[in-house]
Symmetry: C2
Subunit: 367 residues, 2 copies
DNA sequence: TGAAAGGACCGTAACGGTTCAGAACCAATA
DNA sequence: TATTGGTTCTGAACCGTTACGGTCCTTTCA
């Protein structure tokens, strides 16, 4: 007792073994393999550990030796805190957390500030694998993750061919939504979308920018729209598409305003997310436009708030997406060639979509 | 080149150094201290690294050596995924994530299944500190955290004296809310509260259980109520207090039903969270009781949904709480004796509270 | 021309564990 | 008596890195 009064340096496995006069192996076994030593010795080890204030094997040293960190990393392109503000992201996180919990694995949120090119946080993350959620394909953090020699699952990305992937058919889902609107008679539309690249561009989007978009999800949703409306005889290059960097209702409102200012005759506002759509609806209300009588508004995602508002949208299984990503990553069983999972979506016809005002004669073109 | 054709074992700092004919230190410096070697050698190191597929210094080995994990751990008493379902928890997480981001630190969600006593996940977490959020004071995971030799901040816990603490004055806030109701004339009340201990007890709560509650927050809120109503001449032991293990609206509804079945004459339903209160309101509606004309309902937290419903409640700064916890933990500056931070709350008088029906004559007792 | 300064690089010693192939011992079996 | 088998514990080899305290060589300046 006296000699351990002033614990200059904290106790280690070695110092504990020395104190007890046994080998380090034995102390290690006392913690990790109780069946490898006699119960009384084990008790003596644990008692002495308590007396010396030894907190048990150091997790980092253990990780180094076992090559297991016991955690998976999550990379987001947004500020970390954004993940807790966006309903879809929250759902994804919940699903991912579920999968981690099942496996007894920790979930490390990696701070990847999109403003800076600093990828040190990715290099510093002690994890057994990465989940990358909705990151632009030219993000340096993504590149840094792909260089790490650990399994990776990407979400809402193009199929990279080298790592597992989870996603939905954004293009097809949006195509179906567009067909619904076309069937109703809409031909003169406006679009509000989320950011298409890492640079801020709050305004109209050129066709070039649409094609070159680094956010796979947004690019595909727009392309689904373009395809459907082009087929219906609409000149896509004339359709006003407005982009917003920040993803919140205010952006949806201001984006809708910008579209309506450019062309007050649009009969439908198609938004690439429910959050934007909810914002667009407030803007419509502000202008005295009734939804859907005067104008149709649609979203994408199927979040709670949209459901309550009766939003016409595409519901995607965000929770399942997170869970699938986690399962894919943690499933050590089949580590065959990269797997690609597409989850099903559902077109929700709500009460925010209807035939265009005075557009009944166009119903001929319906499906 | 030829000898590195078949990379049996992945490249390390040492193998890279050997290949280059320089010391390990130099390779390390190439990554960590570019100013310590000539630019051309650094380039040569990095080029060779790329050629050999060396992904840069191993984060775990680095953590072992530097004694820094670059992450803080978060311990929750609930299933991990619950954190993404409860509005208050989400707010807390957002604040904590904000603080971590500022410091460039990762945030590790530690899987601590409350059902099992298995604390291995706590032992396995490679972190520089812990934040413990709303955990019962007898939780073995909490004990395991406190044994780890890293700084810790507890939230919504009693002041342990040994670690930093962040919280609010739950007791005082609930006392003030109670005074408001007493001023309105309420004397015959019912209470719906969240779980008081780790065991499931969906039903009425004895005074003993209230006092022995292991959830500090719930205990204090109840004791604030008890104090105010006792002062107003109400026999607290006769007040129906119903507990619910699960925290969601359904629990609020069934809890309210249980109270109303026991005493249909109650004029106010006091809930210890907004989520429970929202559930209680749906149950009131189901019974044809108008709020607040027929019955008063109050909550606690100040979540978005409550605000929209005009709920009378106590607003607490959940985001600030998370941020404060993170700041306290990451502030290496003043590591003086344990600090205790109490954040301010605000009593929100909404439209779900009013004088009891036929209780106008009791207004004499108002403030 | 000699002393001091500075840049570039190196060797050694941790950091704190886990793992695996035995050694030592003892009891039971053939 | 020799063999077998089981239990309990040990020794030494890693895991991949960074901190520390040098050495060596080239410049600079009085």
């Amino acid at each position: 007792m006296a000699r351990s009064m002033h614990v200059r340096r904290p106790a280690t496995l070695a110092s504990l073994a020395a104190e007890l006069g046994v080998s380090r192996t034995t102390v290690s076994n006392a913690y990790n393999r109780p069946d490898q030593l006699s119960p009384e010795l084990r008790r003596r080890v644990l008692d002495t550990a308590r007396r010396l204030g030894y907190p048990g094997p150091d997790p980092v040293a253990r990780s180094l030796r076992t090559r297991k960190a016991g955690a998976v990393g999550l990379l987001l392109t947004e500020n970390l805190s954004y993940a807790f503000r966006d309903p879809a992201a929250i759902g994804f996180l919940e699903g991912l957390a579920l999968a981690c919990e099942d496996a007894g694995t920790g979930l490390l949120l990696v701070p990847a500030n999109p403003e800076r090119e600093d990828v040190a946080s990715v290099h510093r993350a002690g994890v057994d694998g990465f989940v990358v959620y909705s990151v632009p394909d030219d993000d340096p953090h993504l590149a840094a993750v792909l260089e790490r020699p650990v399994p990776t699952v990407v979400c809402d990305q193009p199929d990279l061919g080298t790592v597992d992937r989870v996603g939905i058919d954004d293009r097809g889902a949006m195509y179906d939504l567009a067909r619904h609107l076309i069937g109703l008679g809409h031909r003169r539309i406006g679009v509000v979308c989320m950011r298409l690249a890492r640079d801020r561009n709050d305004g109209f989007v050129t066709p070039d920018r649409q094609h070159a978009a680094h956010f796979h999800v947004q690019r595909n949703r727009l392309s689904g729209l373009a395809e459907a409306f082009s087929e219906a005889g609409v000149d896509w290059s004339q359709v006003p598409v407005v982009e917003r960097f920040d993803h919140n209702m205010a952006s949806g409102a201001s984006g809708a305003a910008q579209v309506l200012d450019r062309d007050p005759q649009v009969t439908a506002l198609i938004c690439t997310s429910d959050v934007l759509a909810l914002g667009a609806m407030t803007e419509a209300g502000r202008r005295g436009l009734r939804v859907p009588h005067d104008i149709t508004v649609t979203g994408f995602d199927g979040i709670r708030g949209g459901e309550e508002a009766g939003l016409t949208t595409v519901r995607q299984p965000v929770l399942e997406k997170g869970r699938a990503a986690g399962k894919l990553l943690l499933d050590t069983n089949e580590r065959s060639r990269p797997r690609s999972v597409n989850l099903a979506t559902e077109l929700i016809i709500g009460k925010t979509s209807g035939p265009p005002r005075g557009g009944a004669e166009e119903r001929w073109f319906g499906p």
